[in-house]
Amino acid sequence: MDSLEIVFSGFLISALRSATPLLLALLGECLGQRTGVINLGTEGQMLIGAMAGYGATAALGDPWLGLAAGAGAGLLLSSVHAVLAIGAQANQFASGLAVWMLGFGLSAYLGAGLVGRKIASFDSVAAGPVAHWPIIGSVVAGMTPTVLIALLLVPAIGVWLYGTRTGLRWRAVGEAPDSARAAGVAPAWIQMQAVLAGGLLSGLGGAALSVDYTRTWAEGMSAGRGLVAVGLVIVARWNPWWTLPAALLFGGAEALSLRLQAADTPISAHLLHTLPYVASLVVLTLTYVRARDSGAPAGLKAVMDR
C-alpha cells in the first residue's frame, strides 16, 4: 500500500467511526420526521443512552449489553416526547427541548459516578479475506461492530420504508394524516411508534458514542450530535439512503479537525471543532437555497413553518 492509500483509508475509517453515533440518531430522527414529528430531544436521548450504555458496560463487563441498555434508555426517554407531542399535542419544539433538558439533567445526575471509570469495549470486526483488498480491506479492518450495525441499518430502513406496506403507511401519515386516517391508518399510533423507534436508535447512537467511540463518559458528551441529526435529516431530504452521506459530512469534518490538530496546524483545536457545526449549517442553508420544494413530508412542513 502506498502512503496516499493509507491516508485515505485512515481518513475514511475515522470519518465513519465518528459518524456512527450520529448516523444512528439520524436514522431514528429520519423515521420520526417522516411521520411528521420533529424531536429535538434526540440530543437528550443520546446522552441518556450514552450514560446508560457506559454504566451497563462498566457494571456487566459486556459492551453488547451496554448497547442494549443505551437503546432501552433512549426508548424510555423518547416516550416522554411521544406522550407530550402526540398524546398531549404540546408544541413539538418545546416538548423536544423539555426532553433534552430532562435527558441532560438525568444523565448528568445518574452518570456522576461513572466519570473516570474504565470499560472493556469492542475489538475491530474480523475482516477475514476482505482484509487483503485494497482500501476497503483496511477500512473494514478498522471497523467496530457499531459501525457495521449503523451501516447495515441504512439499507434495512431504506428498503423497509419504500418497499413494505407499513413503510408506505408511515410515509402516508407524514404526508397527509387526514388522508391516512381516511385510509384506515391511525396516524397518532404510527407517530408514537416512529418517535419510540427514534428513541431506540438515538439511545443506541449514544451508547455507540460512549461505549465504542470515545470509551469514556462525560457530562453532555454528545456535544450537539442529536441536534445536528435533526438538522441533517433536512439535508438528507428525509430519505434514509441519504443519511449516510449526511452523517459522513459531519464525521468527515470532525475527522478532518482531529487530523489537522494532530498535524500541529496553527489553527486552534477549538476553532476546528466548530467545523462540523458550520458545515452542517452551510449544507442546511444550501438545501433551502436550491429548492423551494425540499421534499419535506407535508405534515412536517406544517409543524416547521407553522
Binding site: R165, L168, R171, A172, A180, A183, V185, R292, A298
Partner: protein, 504 residues
C-alpha cells in the same frame, strides 16, 4: 339491493342541516341529489358514510337496520365516498395511493410484483392513460378525480357516493366522468351523485332528489323533468336572492393595466400575464384550479414574488419586480380560504376589520374606539356573532368571508381582486357578497374576479380570461363566450374541438 335513509335529522348548533329526510338508493341506478350550497346534501351523504352521526333516523340496507358508526363501518357495508376535497396524497405515486386503501395488500411491495399490481387493475379500465407510477402531484385535476373513483371501486363498494365530482373539472373531463358514472351503475352499483349542476343530472341521473334548507322538496324521474322545473325547485323562494348584474360600459377607459406580469409563490407561477381592466368592468378569470389563479391574486396584492412586469392603476405603478411593495390601500382583495389568507384568528374581530388601517393607527391605539368602529361594520355586513371583541378564529367560515368582505369592500378601492369569494357560502350570503363586490364596478372601480364556476362567470362578468399553466390562454367578451370555447382554453387547446362538445 336497496339502501334507505329513514327520517334522518341532523343539527349543527342551531342550524338544522337535515330535517326528517327520506332517501332510497337502488342498485344499478344513479340518484342525483340536487340543491344549492348548504341545502344539506353533503351532510346527508356523510351520515350514510359514517362521517357524522344522525341525531335521529335510521339507515336500512335490504330491510335490515344498520349502524354506520364510522367510515370503516361504512366500508364494511360496501359504502364508498369520493369527497369534494381530494384525499389523495400528492407526494406519493398513483400506485402507492391506491395501495394504501386496498383491502388486501401484501406486506412486501416489490416493484412489478403481481400483488402490488392488484390495486391498479381497475385504473386500466377507467383511466388507461394515467401512469400508475406517476406522482399524484403531477396529475391533472380530472385524472385525480378518476383515481379517487378507482380507490372507492377497489373497496368493492356497492353504494358509491360522489360529492360534487364535476365542480372542478373542465367540460370535457366532466363529460368523461359522467360516462364512467353511468358505467359503474350499469355494473350494478347504486350511485348517489351530489351536485348543484343541472348538466350532471340530465347527463347521468335516473332519478333526481331536490333538497332545499335541509329538506327533500321533490323526488322526480329525470326523464319526466325539464330544466326549468328543476331550477324553480332548487332555488325556491331564494330566487329573490340572486345578485344584480352590472351593465357594461362600452367606452370606459382602462384604469388598471397588468403588464407582462411574471410571478411565483408556493401555489404556482404565472408568466407574461397581460390584461387591462376598464373602470366599471368586471373581468372574470376562469381556469382549472391550480393554474396560477392564486399566484395572480397574490402578485397583485404584494404576496407573491414578482419576477418581471408590473401592475399600474390610474397611471401609478403599484407592484413591480424586485420592489418590496406591500399591499396598497387602492387594491382590495377577497381571497379564497379567508382563514388561511386574510384573517388573524387569535385576534379580535375588531382588529381584523381594521387590519388594512393598522399602519394609520396612532402609536397607542385606542381599543375602545377600534371596537366601536368595528360594531358599525359588523352590523352592516351582518357578521355573527355580533360582538367585535370576540376572537376571529371562533367565527364560522361564512362569517369569516363576510368579515373579509366588510374590511376589503367598505372603502373605495380602485381595483378589487376577488378569488372565489363565495366558496362555502349559502345562496343568500353569496348574493350579498356578489352585490357588495359588483357595487364597486358600478361605482367605477376595476374588478378582477377569479372563479371556478363558469355559470356565474358567464352570468356576471363582462369579459372572461382563461388561465392555463400560468398564462392567459384567451380572453373573450362574456356575451360571446361558450362553455366549449372556455373549456378548450382551460385544457390548453386554442379552439373548441367539436367532439368534446358537452351534451347539456
Amino acid at each position: 339491493m336497496l339502501t334507505s335513509l329513514r327520517n334522518i335529522t341532523k343539527r349543527f348548533g342551531t342550524t338544522l342541516a337535515n330535517d326528517r329526510v327520506d332517501l332510497d338508493l337502488e342498485s344499478g341506478r344513479v340518484t342525483a341529489l340536487l340543491g344549492e350550497n348548504g341545502a344539506g346534501k353533503s351532510t346527508l351523504m356523510k351520515i350514510l358514510f359514517g362521517f357524522y352521526r344522525a341525531d335521529a333516523g335510521a339507515i336500512v340496507v335490504d330491510g335490515v337496520t344498520v349502524d354506520v358508526a364510522s367510515p370503516r363501518a361504512a366500508a364494511a357495508l360496501g359504502i364508498g365516498m369520493v369527497f369534494q376535497q381530494f384525499s389523495l396524497i400528492p407526494a406519493l405515486t398513483v400506485r402507492e395511493n391506491l395501495a394504501l386503501t386496498h383491502p388486501r395488500l401484501p406486506w412486501w411491495l416489490a416493484r412489478g410484483a403481481r400483488a402490488f399490481a392488484d390495486p391498479v387493475l381497475r385504473l386500466g379500465d377507467i383511466a388507461p392513460e394515467v401512469d400508475p407510477d406517476a406522482l399524484v402531484s403531477r396529475l391533472a385535476v380530472g385524472e385525480m378525480q378518476l383515481v379517487e373513483l378507482v380507490k372507492v371501486l377497489n373497496l368493492e363498494a356497492r353504494i358509491v357516493i360522489l360529492d360534487e365530482p364535476t365542480s372542478v373539472l373542465t367540460p370535457a373531463e366532466a363529460g368523461r366522468l359522467r360516462g364512467e358514472i353511468r358505467r359503474i351503475a350499469a355494473a350494478g352499483a347504486a350511485v348517489a351523485l351530489i351536485t348543484h349542476k343541472l348538466e350532471d343530472v340530465f347527463a347521468c341521473a335516473d332519478e333526481v332528489v331536490v333538497m332545499r334548507r335541509g329538506r327533500v322538496v321533490a323526488r322526480l324521474r329525470t326523464a319526466d323533468t325539464g330544466a326549468d322545473d328543476l331550477v324553480r325547485l332548487v332555488v325556491g323562494e331564494d330566487a329573490l336572492a340572486t345578485a344584480r348584474p352590472v351593465a357594461a360600459a362600452p367606452d370606459a377607459i382602462v384604469r388598471c393595466r397588468i403588464r407582462a406580469l411574471s410571478a411565483s409563490n408556493e401555489t404556482g407561477a404565472i408568466a407574461d400575464v397581460d390584461l387591462g381592466i376598464a373602470g366599471g368592468e368586471i373581468l372574470g378569470i376562469a381556469g382549472v384550479s391550480g393554474n396560477g389563479q392564486q399566484t395572480l391574486a397574490d402578485a397583485l396584492t404584494g404576496l407573491a414574488i414578482i419576477r418581471s412586469g408590473e401592475l399600474i392603476v390610474d397611471g401609478e405603478t403599484l407592484q413591480a419586480a424586485r420592489a418590496e411593495t406591500p399591499a396598497q390601500p387602492s387594491v382590495a382583495c377577497l381571497p379564497e380560504q379567508p382563514l388561511r389568507n386574510a384573517i388573524a384568528p387569535d385576534l379580535s374581530v375588531a382588529v381584523n376589520l381594521m387590519l388594512k388601517r393598522i399602519r394609520d393607527l396612532p402609536f397607542l391605539p385606542d381599543h375602545a374606539r377600534l371596537v366601536a368602529d368595528a360594531a358599525a361594520l359588523v352590523h352592516s355586513f351582518d357578521i355573527r356573532p355580533t360582538d367585535p371583541a370576540l376572537l376571529a378564529g371562533t367565527l364560522s367560515g361564512g362569517n369569516l368571508q363576510k368579515l373579509v368582505a366588510a374590511r376589503e369592500l367598505s372603502g373605495t378601492p380602485a381595483l378589487v381582486v376577488a378569488c372565489c369569494p363565495t366558496m362555502g357560502l349559502d345562496v343568500a350570503a353569496a348574493a350579498a357578497v356578489y352585490d357588495a363586490l359588483f357595487a364597486h364596478a358600478r361605482r367605477g372601480a376595476c374588478v378582477l374576479w377569479i372563479s371556478e364556476d363558469l355559470d356565474d362567470l358567464m352570468r356576471y362578468a363582462h369579459r372572461i380570461a382563461v388561465l392555463y399553466r400560468g398564462r392567459v390562454a384567451g380572453v373573450i367578451p362574456a356575451t360571446a363566450a361558450t362553455r366549449q370555447q372556455l373549456g378548450a382554453w382551460m385544457v390548453g387547446h386554442a379552439q373548441a374541438p367539436v367532439s368534446d362538445a358537452v351534451h347539456a
